[in-house]
Symmetry: D2
């Protein structure tokens, strides 16, 4: 038998409809960076559907505007597009001005925008390394601080949710800039939780495993078809399947709603057991393939080789 689940459809069904009660995010004003594509767009959609006023922000205004319009149609909710390069503090400030006047000051910030690509670390140029750190780590800080400062001044609370990755704590080869920067983001959130919660803030993190989006897969599994990437990737995920955007959006909605107002400083791995499965190789992954007979053989070998002393131990 395999190490991952061969039958995810049966055991781990995908539910794409909203988990939370209708109107769960009413009164919320949410800024979602990178909200025009991929996971960010799904988060924005779910938030709008649950009653939040949503600002999506990224570099490509056309992409954002199209997305905002479609989200409004799909959800009957409020969603507006704003141009913002999160590497540029002044541009962030201007965009937040606009958001504030159009929708109000955000009381939810989802730090979702990021860059990433596969590379052998010795081949990276200094600029390539910096590019990722500047978006992921500095950009996340600049956005958080800009909105945060205004919230503190106006004595309003704010819930900050950052999207990192499963490899943000244990590290990963071939994505060193991203792993490095995402690790920084996770600890930034914890640090701010210790410093700013007294001002009415919450800071939490979702660390997702593989969820198909065109953006992520083009850069991380280049040159493969989707099917190939899925086939290869799912073997590393205990659940035997990738995640779906709506599943992550449901978790994000819960974490930004008042239902979780006591959740603070937390990182949630959301990865179908990818992280736990990594342990598989400790004593040989062939152990997953053993049947009843094979186990009985091993049990006998242990009994024989360790003798009586072992007997009493077991």
């Amino acid at each position: 038998m395999t190490a991952h689940c061969p039958n995810p459809d049966k055991f781990f069904p995908v539910v794409k409809t909203p988990a939370l009660q209708n109107g769960a995010l009413k009164g919320k004003i949410a800024l979602v960076t990178g909200g025009g594509t991929g996971l960010g767009r799904s988060i924005a959609t779910t938030f709008a559907r649950l009653g939040a006023s949503v600002a999506i922000a990224a570099r490509r205004l056309d992409v954002l505007q199209k997305a905002a319009e479609e989200i409004r149609k799909e959800t009957n909710g409020v969603c507006e597009a704003f141009q913002m390069d999160i590497r540029k503090p002044e541009m962030i400030s201007q965009a937040v001005d606009q958001i504030e006047s159009k929708l109000g000051l955000p009381n939810i910030v989802v730090n979702n925008a990021a860059g990433n690509f596969i590379a052998a670390t010795e081949r990276l140029s200094p600029n390539a390394f910096s590019a990722i750190v500047d978006i992921v780590l500095k950009g996340t800080f600049f956005v958080t601080q800009e909105v945060g400062r205004r919230c503190i001044e106006q004595n309003k609370g704010c819930t900050v949710l950052s999207i990192t990755a499963t490899y943000s704590r244990a590290g990963a080869p071939f994505v060193v800039p991203s792993a490095t920067a995402k690790a920084g983001v996770e600890v930034m959130m914890k640090s701010l939780s210790a410093e700013w919660t007294r001002y009415g803030f919450r800071f939490n993190v979702i660390a997702p495993g593989p969820i198909y989006t065109p953006g992520a897969f083009n850069r991380l599994m280049p040159g493969m078809t989707l099917d190939q990437a899925m086939e290869l990737g799912k073997q590393g995920v205990a659940a035997g399947r990738f995640g779906e955007r709506e599943e992550l959006a449901n978790l994000a909605a819960y974490m930004c709603s008042d239902y979780s107002s006591w959740m603070n400083g937390t990182t949630i791995d959301f990865d179908g057991g990818q992280t736990s499965l990594r342990q598989k190789s400790d004593f040989g992954s062939f152990l997953y393939e053993m049947d009843k007979q094979a186990w009985e053989n091993i049990e006998n070998i242990i009994k024989t080789s360790t003798g009586k002393a072992n007997k009493s131990r077991l």
Copy 2:
């Protein structure tokens, strides 16, 4: 200003109504150990309200039966009481027999039963240490394995959720048996996630911070009034308040529902920022009390003492 939030009512409102859509747990059969009191009872109530058939199990049958009846009344749902000392494998087996015939084989197990008390470690008897380990660590294993084995045999999946504590990873003084045993439970869940997910299982953990229940507080803050305990305790929680049982029950419901079917091998800290606030003392907690003027002074001191070199660095 304080390190914790002085105004939790404004910023971190308590929402006690169910977070999930009605019927979110329909078709689920949930076993909640320690479900007759405290957090376990709240979890059972929320689960029953969301459509699950709930079995609550612990040692005191009278307490359980009274609770089950009240839960049925309150929720119009299904809840039954079963006597089970989780330290005793045969008793577990018999109770699961009964559950299976009355409600069906559980596809949700909430390992919530536990024991704990405050003590100076050098004063513990070997029996006192064993007592906690036997309930928390062995008991959790025995219940998980008994239900798990049946699920594997019947080719049914199961979602296991264990309740640990915020101190399960970093440790804590004066509750050494509990910290030790809860740490074991967390890693047991991760290990099983690596081994049994292929059979359709999920294993997750909630590590809660302080939530008032008579059981926990009598043993952990003995000799204090509730007000004293709350006053003392909330200063260690960034959010400035304790959690409420219904908040935890909402998180548990999400984690046991199909909305989170891709969540696996995860531990969620749910503690109002208690863990993140622990970092406060690094450079003196007086830093939380500084006003604008004080910060300007410090900034000047740094500038002066480090001179030009520092200038260019900042």
Copy 3:
């Protein structure tokens, strides 16, 4: 190219001679549980060589006595054997009485004794699970507390070092009892570090990766020859080789010496990068096999598929 190092002899030479200055453990009285075999015996040997008076203790007195005699010969140092089943508090107490009168009260305790074996978790009997927990977790507590209590009473400090395993935090399949119990030990050490350091104690942990000992390998890689086990196992270790007992003993000696008197509450992974290599599968382990040409291809694919937008990002 492989993910692990193909040339460990060149890059990661094994040094078996003592790392510390001669006499580094003079004046120390060390109790090493399980000190008659495997890693424990190597630790005892290195400690005796560095000037400590060493008590080795386990269940099989004959094994211990033979080991003690050989250690004395080999090192010209002090080493005595004591029978002690660490599951039995009274027996521990008697053995520590004897140690105290023969060598003095230990100011170093190395919790090294353990049991472990490979098994599919659904096949474990409750007794098999308990057997491991009783040795590893309860036994470690009983020994630590017995010596600790005496040290507190006599106002003497003590350094406690526990040996766990790399899988003690992330978990591992097929060794659930051990993973569970070792996790408990790690957090027990941290908790006691918070509680007893004020009495002059230190508590630290070494979490080793695979190091050949007959005890461990018979139970964990049963039915394989040593060569097969090594060949299989080293692929999971970044360094491309297993550890050697003397390397671990050198680390243990440092951690129990006064050179590290400020180290406290720490867990040191010692595993040739086994833990870090586990990450390898994130985006496909084929990435390790790519040559220059293959990387250039991938870089071009990324460039093409993401176009200008990516350009500016990188």
Copy 4:
């Protein structure tokens, strides 16, 4: 009684002489960034004394040259000064050229250079945040990659040791840029351990607690006398004292020597139990002050309030 040790002189003696055997680093060529002051200088001194050829590098050449000269005198060893701003890749490249021609290509790199200062996060300018990230995170990467690339090309191994801080995983308020950047460094090391160990590299981290150096204390405890800072700070350290530079240098020497050639991907907290003591506040720090009588009272209260049920549990 206090939570920290009131008597560190008795229990946790400071040993400043080298721990390792003479000549333990013979044949090693070590680059220590920030090696002209503070911890870096101590590391350089110990390394030179143990036989390594040491290159110290930082921005201020005069400081470095004076230090190098003094180190040579003190140790009779090899130590040379090189100007290097680790934020500037070309400057790093030139400096490594010089090191290579003067001493040889480094086979040890100690990433020790850093910047840090106390600040309320909402008061930071974008430049202030960037300044720290650029030194700590980018600088560490640039140095590691520059030396690493050459080692790969020349098929030589290299041991990389980075100095972070105790707050690099759990975060800390008022030092958000540093906590963020140091977290990135830790995960960078783990990631590279997974990717480059096969080329003969090792990557490890020391995360120190408070050790007096003029550099750190002027920026982190500004406006206090050393005595005030020590008095305040040591209460947060279980051992009841700060660390000393030579203690850290001894640990660094071990980790860069061949004695630890199997240590890889590891982070070692070296903090006198500062991290473990942070747990103290869970149930009130008054617990540390209780005497025998007070504990007996509490034990009675627990017994009374929980009655028989508790009895059987204990």
